[in-house]
């Protein structure tokens, strides 16, 4: 059995006010893949992510994580396997001290205090944030907050990392550092993003969502080069694949 498997079959969901969000989504992500989830605003990316850790329950179809379907009884296990990093770090960091926040997950897993400490310090070291551990989260910069919020998830040793817009609101250097950091992880990664250059750097595969359906699913390079597909999905080529603004050449 592989913990790293994510399988979504015929997933449908509409919000209580009747807005349809997902309209029969299918895909299967296997061990160690790094997959970008791209699509225009409102295409259903966030709704899909909320299904991957069981916050939303499928109205039709199924979601399986590591060969286990998500049900009420498997929720705890699934949430340990799928580490989710939110778009706004302020939502993720809710305790008054960075250390406590990173230790929150392992403590809730019921691990012994020594193990909690070990995992917390390891996770902080992995993202290069050991020096921040005594600081209150609201005093950190955007990049530091992002690093710490990734640590809060890493401390639970997830097999799958799910991220919503990891590079939003970061300055260019912090963005570059984050991409470098993510490239070193060997987790299965699912990254919902509008940052097409990040897709180019990090993801071998891309899934394009359009109006709650999978419009395309394939190697990232092929998809990023398909202008027609990108246009019809409200997307654009990565800047590095677009022509030079002065001479027009690639």
């Amino acid at each position: 059995m592989s913990h790293h498997l994510v399988e979504v079959k015929e997933l449908k969901f509409s919000y209580p006010d009747g807005t349809p969000a997902l309209n029969g989504v299918n895909f299967r992500i296997t061990h160690g893949e790094s997959v970008a989830l791209v699509g225009a605003n409102g295409a259903g990316k966030s709704t899909l992510l909320l299904h991957l850790n069981g916050y939303l329950t499928p109205q039709a179809g199924s979601v399986r994580i590591g060969d286990i379907p998500i049900t009420k009884n498997t929720l705890k296990h699934v949430r340990q396997v799928v580490g989710m990093v939110f778009q706004d770090p302020d939502d993720q960091l809710f305790l008054p001290r960075v250390y406590d926040d990173v230790a929150f997950g392992p403590t809730n897993l019921g691990l012994p205090p020594d193990e909690v400490k070990l995992r917390t310090l390891n996770a902080l070291a992995l993202v290069g944030a050991e020096h921040l551990r005594e600081r209150p989260p609201y005093k950190l910069s955007g990049g530091e907050k992002r690093a710490v919020s990734i640590a809060t998830v890493l401390s639970m040793s997830p097999s799958i990392l799910v991220m919503d817009e990891p590079t939003s609101n970061l300055d260019p250097r912090a963005r570059r550092q984050l991409i470098h950091l993510l490239s070193e992880f060997d987790h299965t990664k699912i990254i919902a993003t509008h940052d097409m250059d990040l897709v180019l750097d990090l993801c071998s595969r891309a899934i394009v969502l359009r109006e709650g359906e999978v419009a395309a699913d394939g190697p990232a390079l092929d998809i990023l080069a398909d202008r027609e597909l990108l246009d019809s999905s409200g997307l654009e080529k990565p800047l590095r694949l677009q022509g030079c603004p002065i001479c027009g050449n690639l």
Binding site: L50, N53, Y55, K76, R79, Q80, G83, M84, F86, D88, D90, D91, Q92, F94, L95, P96, R97, D100, F104, G105, T107, N108, L109, P113, E134, P136, P137, Y138, K139, T152, V153, M156
Partner: protein, 269 residues
């Protein structure tokens, strides 16, 4: 706008102060909380015409601030910010209650003036003691202490989150106020009607955020309990701290020190 922002972010300074290392900071948080609660009860129990009896109690917040290396000016500023609320409550007393209560030579002090002074004294004592407690303990340590003393988790978690998110909510409010100010060109915007809308909007944003935070907590296995770091345990010196202060408060409550001093002085003269 700048003044709202700066006074708001100044709250964060309590955190910085609470990480200092002084004898007061090292006292167990539970002991400090209990001492402060007892202090507040004693202060409140004084009658409304007895501001003089309250005066000696100032020794507690002063001692905590001095030993705890907390700038008194900072606490005093915080007291000033909240004082209009208390003033509005106390201000009518001298006007409503004009019955003579105290005869000092040629002056006659009315009961209203005495109760005014006593409300203000109680305000200064209780709030400065509370602020001094936070400044030398830290909100998270206080929450952990309350939880360990048996206060229901629901309250301590609420308190913890209130303190964490007051900054986020405040920033959101500041951003909205700034956006309004920039487009009202020094006028009053559209007056009250915009404000009511903004407050409603802020509430909706807050609820949205609360939902996202809850989701983030669920994702990390939250089951209704925040696990606080274990405390180092209460030492004999902590008990001495508690006993010493409570003893002093009780004595000052039973024996009115200024009156006694006055009598003694009178006798000597």
């Amino acid at each position: 706008m700048a003044s709202i922002e700066s006074s708001f972010f100044d709250i964060g300074r309590l955190d910085v102060l609470s990480s200092k290392e002084t004898p007061i900071h090292r006292v167990d948080a539970r002991v400090k909380v209990l001492t402060t609660i007892y202090f507040i009860v004693v202060v409140i129990s004084f009658g409304k015409y007895d501001p003089a009896g309250l005066a000696p109690l100032i020794v507690y917040p002063m001692a905590v601030m001095t030993i705890g290396n907390i700038p008194i000016r900072y606490i005093a500023k915080k007291l000033l910010i909240a004082s209009p609320f208390v003033l509005s409550v106390a201000l009518l007393n001298p006007l409503l209650d004009r019955s003579p209560a105290l005869d000092v030579g040629i002056f006659v002090i009315s009961g209203g003036s005495l109760s005014f002074a006593s409300i203000m004294a109680k305000y200064v004592l209780t709030v400065s003691a509370g602020l001094a407690l936070i400044a030398c303990t830290g909100v998270d340590a206080i929450c952990a202490a309350l939880a360990r003393m048996g206060v229901p988790e629901a309250f301590t978690v609420q308190l913890l989150f209130l303190y964490r998110y007051i900054f986020v909510l405040g920033q959101e409010a500041v951003r909205m106020a700034r956006a309004r100010a920039l487009r009202s060109f020094g006028n009053k915007g559209l007056g009250m009607s915009t404000y009511t809308g903004m407050i409603g909007h802020l509430l909706l944003r807050t609820m949205d955020r609360a939902q996202r935070i809850h989701l983030a907590m669920l994702c990390r296995g939250f089951g209704g309990e925040i696990h606080h770091a274990p405390s180092s345990g209460i030492r004999p010196s902590d008990l001495l701290y508690l006993a010493g202060w409570s003893g002093l408060f009780t004595l000052l409550r039973i024996y009115n020190l200024p009156v006694w001093l006055g009598k003694e002085l009178g006798r000597l003269i």
